[in-house]
């Protein structure tokens, strides 16, 4: 059993669940394949995947034991372009915190390049692999339609106060709250209007968010209240400080 995240708190348990590829994330909504493609905005839904190189099977690759050992992903085998999905997660109890989202991408998906910035998180992958992982993430509990967003650019909002209706601030307003309280995504991740709005259901309640979040907060579960977590952090900190990357203790 991999040692993923220490801690006895609910937040630590949620992080372990997110990072453990043997655990399935709860599915909280349905988003069709075409809607995922539309939200990503890299190609028109229904069109063929543009290729950046011929399929690997036709390329006559040299014999190599590593090539036999590591099978290419479906997108790599077909020669797809590399494209991205980028998330912004509000610090107000969003289900994911950017670093955990990156770790999760690294443990759950093959052939991806996750990257974390201060308030956003990007995953690069071959296009058809990206469509699959994007769909899985958008439909799962790792995405809340009010506190998370798919934002390719102009991502500002992660550390801002929420809007009056509980939505995370988005200068491009890619998702809107309907009068009935449900949310629809109306623009793709770079702010181009979609032909038709994509309904993504109602936002999670505050209680639900607090039970699913991977964010430590003093007004939720404070990191310092998790003794086991602090013990491990302090131990790692001490070992790193005293012996760098070669702890002898």
């Amino acid at each position: 059993m991999a040692q993923l995240i220490p801690g006895t708190s609910k937040v630590a348990a949620n992080r372990r669940k997110a990072l453990d590829p043997t655990k399935t994330l709860d599915k909280v909504r349905d988003v069709s394949d075409d809607d995922v493609v539309a939200i990503l905005g890299h190609r028109t839904p229904g069109t063929a995947y543009p290729a950046t190189h011929p399929p690997l099977a036709e390329m006559g690759e040299p014999e190599d034991p590593m090539r036999e050992l590591v099978k290419p992903t479906e997108g790599a085998a077909a020669g797809d372009r590399i494209r991205y999905i980028q998330f912004t997660d509000s610090m107000y109890f969003a289900p994911m915190v950017p670093y955990v989202r990156s770790w999760m991408a690294a443990t759950r998906f093959r052939g991806v390049d996750p990257g974390t910035l201060s308030g956003r998180q990007i995953i690069e992958a071959r296009e058809r692999d990206l469509d699959k992982l994007g769909k899985m993430l958008l439909e799962s509990e790792a995405f809340d339609c009010a506190r998370s967003g798919v934002r390719g650019c102009t991502v500002h909002g992660h550390s801002l106060r929420l809007d009056q209706n509980g939505m995370m601030f988005d200068m491009l307003q890619r998702s809107v709250m309907n009068p009935d309280g449900s949310v629809s995504i109306v623009k793709d991740q770079v702010g181009r209007p979609l032909d038709k709005a994509v309904p993504v259901g109602k936002p999670m309640s505050d209680a639900d968010l607090k039970s699913r979040t991977t964010i430590y907060r003093v007004d939720g579960e404070a990191a310092r209240a998790d003794k086991e977590l602090i013990t491990y952090i302090q131990r790692i900190h001490t070992l790193r400080t005293m012996w760098g990357f070669k702890p002898m203790a």
């Binding site: 390719g152 650019c153 801002l160 929420l162 009056q164 209706n165 770079v190 702010g191």
Partner: protein
């Protein structure tokens, strides 16, 4: 030297800091109520910018459709909101007005808020002010412009001006 003597040259300025970013309807109602209070001399609305056009990425330059970017009506005056308001900076004639402002805020705002006392609007011109505007005779316009903006005044003026 007696340090308790209040400095009358320092204006009474307050900040209303809301728990949520407000929608234009709430801002319109609140500022309309503020306009009825005698004793508010200057008011600035502050918050994250909402650009008129998408500023970057593949959609750069296309119109940015956003519900919070719209015109509000304050009395007879039309004000274009370019921000999603999260703070109000008010300059008051005296401290007694703070109570009225607090009462109105409590009545209108749907969320919690803080009222902080401080100095939020400039009282003296800066070099940038001089470079952009020259000698400013009417000191009421000081600090009422965004130095980085190409627009001029971004605050509510009395009707007669």
């Amino acid at each position: 030297m007696d340090t308790d003597v209040p400095d009358t040259s320092i204006p009474v300025q307050i900040e209303i800091f809301t728990e949520r970013l407000l929608n234009p309807e709430t801002v319109e109602r609140l500022v309309t109520e503020f306009a009825k209070i005698e004793g508010i001399t200057r008011l600035i609305m502050h918050g994250p910018r909402i650009a008129a056009a998408v500023p970057e990425g593949p959609a750069k330059g296309t119109p940015n459709v956003h519900a919070a970017r719209r015109h509000i009506q304050v009395g007879q005056q039309d004000v274009e909101l370019g921000v999603q308001v999260g703070r109000f900076w008010l300059e008051l004639e005296d401290e007694d007005v703070i109570e009225q402002v607090e009462e109105v805020s409590r009545r209108i705002l749907p969320c919690g808020f803080q009222i902080n006392r401080g100095l939020y609007i400039r009282t003296r011109p800066t070099q940038t002010d001089y470079a952009k505007w020259g000698v400013i005779k009417d000191t009421r316009v000081l600090g009422m412009t965004d130095p980085k903006s190409k627009s001029r005044i971004c605050a509510i003026y009395p009707r007669e001006r």
